[in-house]
Structure formats: C-alpha cells, structure tokens
Amino acid sequence: MEITWEDGARGEYTGEQLRWACPCAECRGEAGAPGRLSRVKTLQDDELKIRDVTLVGQYALQIAFESGHATGIYTFSLLRRLMQ
C-alpha cells in the first residue's frame, strides 16, 4: 500500500508491516489482558495480504486482510509514524 500525504511525502507499507501494527483490541489486548499479537510468533500468509482499504471519516483507514480480519482502524497519525 502506498500513501501520498497532503505535504507531498510518500510512504510505502507492506501487508506484513501493517498486520503486525494492527491497533485493534483483539490484537493489542485490552484492560490489562495481552492481545493476540503478543502471543503469536508467526502469522499465516492470508493474514498478511491486504484485501481492501476503506476510509474512516477523514482520520483513519480500515484495512481488511484476506483472512477476514478487519477490525483495525489505522489513524493517519499512526500511519505517518509507521512511515519513519
């Protein structure tokens, strides 16, 4: 996935990078309980492949993966930080 920002900067993202950065409660954990991403070492191929991206309002992207996982709402500020 590629993002061209308002200021002209461009960022490239792989499905793998985005999947491991998924901010959803299931992946990150909530209320002190650890999330799925801290419990597993590897992910299946279909978990790493992006199927669809939709805009959420004007502050975030919702990324759906081939595995069906689509609960992560990636804010633009998170995506900008991931760009380095």
Partner: protein, 359 residues
Amino acid sequence: MATPSSQQVLDALATIKDPDLGRDVVSLGMIKELEVTSQGRVSFTFELTTPACPVRDRFKSQAEDAVGELAGVTAVEVRMTANVRPAFLRPKPSEILPGVKQTIAVASGKGGVGKSTVAVNLAAALSKSGASVGLLDADIYGPSVPAMTGSRVMPQQANGHLLPIEAHGMKLMSFGHLNPGDQPTIYRGPMVGKAIEAMMVQVDWGRLDYLVIDLPPGTGDASLTLAQAVPLTGVAIVCTPQDVATEIAIKALQMFRKLNVTPLGLIENMSWYVCPSCGHRHEIFSHGGAEGAAKRLGVPFLGAIPLEEGIRQDADSGTPVVISRPESAGAKAFVEIASQVAARTSIQSFRQLPVINVH
C-alpha cells in the same frame, strides 16, 4: 485608444487577494467568461466559492476599480455568481451523501446551549443567501428540528428512499419526523449510530451545497458515528459564555480534532440580553468566554448571538428568526456567523486528504 488584452485584465484582477484562502482570485479560478470588446467594454463572471461570501461586495468593487483603472477601458461589467466546491476529492465515489458538496456539523458538548437554534438559523441563513441547503437533525433522543421549523409531517417515500421534508426553502430530516408524538426513542448506543447512518444513506438528499448536521450533546456515539461515516468538512462548536459551558465545549472541540475533523470555530450563544423595559444590556451568562476559549485553542471565533425573546418565540412557532425577523439583532448575528462559517468551509475545499493506492 488601444483596448487592454485579456492578459492585462487578468493581471489587474490578480492584485485582488482572497483574505481567507490567501491567494489571488485569478489563480483560484474565480474569474470566468472574460470578454473585452473593441470598444473597451470588459465583462466577466466572478465566481465565489459560496453565495454567503462575507467579502462579496468588496470583491465586486475591487474588481470594478482594478479593471476600470486600465487604459482604454470604457465600461466594466462584473457578474457575481457562486459555485460551492466539494469539500474533498474523495478516494472512491461514496454511496453516503453522494450529491452533497459540504457537510457542516454543529456540536456543543454541553446540552441546552442552543445548538439546534443555531443549526436551524445557520441553515436558514445559508439558504437565504442562495445556496441549496439540507438540515439533518442527528439528535435521536431530543429532536427539536420539526418543532423549530414547523414541519411536523411524516416523510414520503420514493424508489425505496425517504424524501426529506421541504420547509423554509430547506430540505429537512429529523428522527422527530420518523417518530412523532410524545413517545420517546429508547435506544442503546449502537442503535443511535445505525439510526444516524440510516438518515444519511436512506434519505434521498439530492444535490446540496451544504448539509448542516445538528448533533446531540456529548462526545459519544452520535458524534463518533458521524465522524467515521462521512468526511465532514468541519464542525462549528456552540457554547454559552460561562466557564461551565466553555470547558465542555473545549472537550467537544478536542474530540473532533482527534478525529481529524477541522474545527470551523466557536460560536457564543446567549451572549447578552437587552432589557425591553430599561434598555440596559445584561450579560447574564458572562461575556466573551467563547472568544477567549477560541484564542486559547487557536481556532476562529465565529461570532456572538444575543439572548432575545424573539429567537425563542420564533423557534416555538416554527419559523427561524433569520426568516421571520431579518432586521433583529439576533437574525443579523446569525447571518454574519453563517457567512463566516461558509468562508471557513470554502478553505477546506482547497485541502486534500492523503491519497491511498493499494497494489
């Protein structure tokens, strides 16, 4: 005497700067259909980004002066028009509000500050300026728009869509139209979100320059649903001057900032009261609280509205005060605020969201 070339006319017009957009009106594409006759008559269309433009008259006289001063010009005809531009270049054609150019939310955080009164009069003022305007009442629990606009009727259906109700030249839709009478709507949060989405997707809003959305108080489900479902052009925050109101208004504003919705600015309602018997000006809820808060937060202050019996009477009798008593101080304040909101909204149409490519 030789007549000026089109380029010379454009160069003269390029000295006029749009104060809100910070660029000259020629490079912004506002000058159209320019003609210069051999007799030195110059005519062109000056296309504003909103019919409620606060500097409309100033632009017209500046254009006449700038062109009139050119050697060889015998007459200048300026046709003032307006074409509201869409807020953002959306990444995909959207099924949500496809024909709506600008969506403006009116929020407050705190209840009882006159949010619905402001939303109704803001919409009515934009409509009076010549724009096509819709008003969506997203307050599921306490819908006030049907009463304030005298439109207590059930919406009609056509082609599987609900048709908005037409009143005072505006298109309206409220949960109060769908669930009239004195029975309450008893919904948990997720249902509120669904109901608001339905009012955007299932209502045939058609083509609108502005859709004004009257939000319920709070920083929860309704505001969040709205900020996620549509790319809002911006949000105007209403508050009364006293500290307990401005503090909550700031929270509402910060919520929208977190969601990347641009704050168009703060509006101070119930700012002062002129006693009809003694003529003395009372500042019942203090004064200037919203202006101070706007300064601290670095957002525009859009204006102050007086506490007037007429505003309340007209809201209860179903005609917005900007229509029923245009000469009142309250109506004038609303019209001025509407043109400030329109100007702030126009700035947003020159902004772009990030472009996303998946491959």
